[in-house]
């Protein structure tokens, strides 16, 4: 059974989310504070974490950072705040997706399923053994092994970052628009392009020798992104 950890300080919202998620077949566990959530995740890691941003004590942003430090569990922010500033900050802290309250349960479970498809075995495209390693200069991507190496050294990327990198690598040298990437990586028909921009930024920090002047993962103004040698 898929386990979901819900970190939400509002008792009623937490209870309602746990009930609804259990109805949808998830094994849901609640935590009222970030500290409690972090302890629970360390003790018994869930498959997904839902985080509210406004939490007493340790706030949601810090909670995301600490969760991200430990592993690559998909993190979804569920917040009533929808300022650009909050959205970008939460994504930069390491969140995989951002949903604004109120979220319909159908929408929430659809997002979780999309994240699940993003698991490393879910890479679409040519048969994995046909392209064991995709090389971009000193950058090597092994879609089937779920590994990224730079100059021979393994690079730690989250599942979403890995999926994004594979999608760009499969279409090496070709431009993918933000909407195409949103659809292929996050499963959105039409979504928030900041999701793509922030993830590309995070990916650059990990794979580019100089993230400010990217060589491999380049932006094409008004068109989208391209991975090149």
């Amino acid at each position: 059974m898929t386990a979901v950890l819900v970190i939400e300080d509002d008792d009623r919202i937490r209870l309602a989310l746990l009930l609804a998620l259990e109805d949808e077949g998830y094994d849901a566990l609640g935590a009222a504070t970030a500290e409690e959530g972090l302890r629970a995740q360390r003790r018994d890691p869930a498959d997904y974490v839902l985080v509210d941003l406004m939490l007493p004590g340790l706030d949601g942003f810090e909670c995301i950072r600490q969760l991200r430090r430990d592993d690559d569990v998909p993190i979804v922010v569920v917040s009533a705040r929808d300022d650009t500033h909050d959205i970008v900050a939460a994504l930069e802290a390491g969140a995989d997706d951002y949903l604004v309250k109120p979220v319909a349960i159908k929408e929430l479970t659809a997002r979780l399923r999309a994240l699940r498809r993003r698991a490393r075995t879910g890479v679409v495209g040519p048969a994995p053994d046909a392209v064991p390693v995709l090389a971009f200069g000193e950058l090597e991507i092994s879609p089937d092994a779920g590994e990224v190496r730079r100059a021979g050294q393994p690079v730690a990327v989250t599942r979403t970052e890995f999926r994004l990198l594979c999608e760009l690598a499969e279409h090496a040298g070709r431009v993918l628009s933000r909407q195409q990437l949103l659809q292929r990586v996050w499963g959105y028909d039409s979504g928030d392009e900041r999701l793509v921009d922030v993830h590309v930024g995070r990916l650059r920090q990990k794979i580019e020798p100089d993230p400010a002047t990217p060589r491999h993962l380049v932006t094409l103004r008004g068109l989208g992104y391209k991975l090149q040698r």
Partner: protein
């Protein structure tokens, strides 16, 4: 005609004022100088003529006078030419016929009657002064005084006065320019501050210490900005608080409603109906809150980026379970427009939703252009919109008459208001007309979205 600017008007007034003043001063000085010089010249000429006349009278008072020799003996310099009329004959120093014709007949008659006289005439086009002195019943003496030098003096004087007048007028204009520049400098500061504030910088203030005369303006301006900034901040915080406070309980309701909906088959009929009503209203309430928050925010200008509007239109159809074949792109219209994706997506969704709810479903979604203006048109073959409603339907919380009669009102009443506001954010607007053959046609213009 466009009204001239304050600065231009002040400079022109200064220049014209200075010119009028300088010109009248110059004219008066010129006239006074001219008159006194001419009077002086006349007196001098008269005195000299009397003196010469005495010499000539003595010279011709003999039996056989050598008139020419007498005239030649006169010390007249270059400026005076003596002429004698004796016994019906004209005598001059040289054979000079022109000079006698220059002496007007009126003058001759007056002098011949025994009266000395003075008259200004033109000799060979040159100004001159003729003085006539009677010597005896048969002899009259005339002297023609050239006024050329005097006229030259007047010319120089006129030139000097004109130059001064022009210079004074120029100085007046310069003074006006300087005065307005200094006078308007505080207004420039006000304009700069107002521009900054309009651009969203609420830290802009005027320095009340710059000019004591403008302290009142500065302090009331600053007070106004303080209040405005305070009010905007309060509104912003209120909107943020309201959205947060409404969204949080809605999350609980949405999750709880989905739990109820899953258990519909275990509920008795009355409970199921009540649970269905709760779920529907929560859904509507959610949309209402989202529309309200959007409406509160959408008065800012659009953040334009290249957007594939055809794909966006097809997505909008897909979301409302409408066929993508509704979407038509006019010939020679590119698929990529410079617009804000979120806003245009909402325009499309709300227009289609409106056509579904009130127009019996959309018949066409046409994307076309009018020069650089992107045009979105959604048509339906429903009852159309009565002429008197064509403005008000874009106001907030107005719903179609059909909805009232049917009592179904599923919309939030904000859909078309949001369309209008999103169009305005792109400096465009939305109108509704009759569709040829019945139904309504909604037309949204998005200027500067095509280049």
């Amino acid at each position: 005609m466009r009204r001239l600017g304050l600065r231009t008007r002040v400079i022109a007034t200064f220049a014209v004022g200075a010119l009028l003043l300088a010109a009248s001063m110059a004219l008066v000085s010129y006239e006074l100088t001219r008159r006194s010089l001419i009077d002086e010249r006349e007196r001098t000429a008269l005195r000299a003529a009397y003196f010469d006349a005495t010499v000539v009278r003595a010279g011709i008072d003999t039996d056989t006078p050598d008139v020419v020799e007498v005239l030649r003996s006169l010390d007249t310099g270059g400026g005076r030419r003596p002429v004698l009329h004796l016994n019906g004959e004209w005598y001059g120093r040289n054979a000079d016929p022109g000079i006698t014709t220059a002496i007007p007949a009126d003058l001759r008659r007056v002098v011949a009657s025994g009266e000395p006289a003075v008259q200004r005439v033109l000799v060979d086009g040159q100004p001159a002064l003729v003085v006539g002195v009677p010597l005896s019943p048969t002899a009259t003496f005339f002297e023609v005084n050239s006024l050329r030098e005097l006229e030259q003096t007047f010319d120089v004087l006129a030139l000097a006065l004109t130059t001064v007048a022009v210079l004074v007028a120029g100085s007046g204009a310069a003074l006006g320019w300087y005065a307005t520049r200094h006078g308007l400098r505080p207004l420039t500061a006000v304009a700069d501050a107002a521009e900054k504030i309009a651009a969203g910088d609420f830290t802009a203030r005027l320095d009340p210490a710059t000019d004591p005369d403008l302290t009142r303006l500065s302090s009331s301006f600053n007070q106004m900005v303080d209040r405005l900034a305070h009010r905007i901040e309060r509104d912003r915080r209120f909107a943020a608080d309201v959205s947060h406070e409404l969204r949080s309980p809605l999350q609980t309701l949405a999750a709880a409603a989905s739990v109820l909906a899953r258990r519909r088959e275990h509920q008795d009929e009355r409970t199921a109906i009540a649970a269905g009503l709760v779920a529907d209203e929560i859904d509507r309430f959610q949309r209402l809150v989202n529309d309200l928050i959007d409406l509160a925010r959408s008065d800012q200008p659009a953040h334009r980026a290249p957007v594939d509007v055809v794909a966006l239109a097809r997505d909008a159809c897909h979301t409302l379970d409408l066929p993508a074949s509704l979407v038509r792109l006019a010939p020679d219209v590119p698929v990529t427009w410079q617009v804000e994706r979120r806003r245009v997506a909402q325009i499309l969704a709300n227009l289609l939703d409106n056509a579904v709810t009130y127009g019996g479903g959309p018949t066409t979604l046409l994307l076309s252009r009018d020069g650089g203006v992107g045009v979105i048109e959604v048509e339906d073959d429903g009852p159309g919109v009565p002429v008197e409603d064509r403005e008000v339907i874009f106001d907030r919380f107005v719903r179609g008459r059909a909805a009232h009669t049917r009592g179904a009102g599923d919309g939030t009443g904000l859909g078309l208001a949001l369309v209008a506001q999103h169009a305005a954010a792109h400096t465009g607007h939305v109108t509704v007309t009759d569709r040829p053959g019945g139904g309504a046609r909604f037309r949204v213009t998005l200027p500067e979205s095509l280049t």
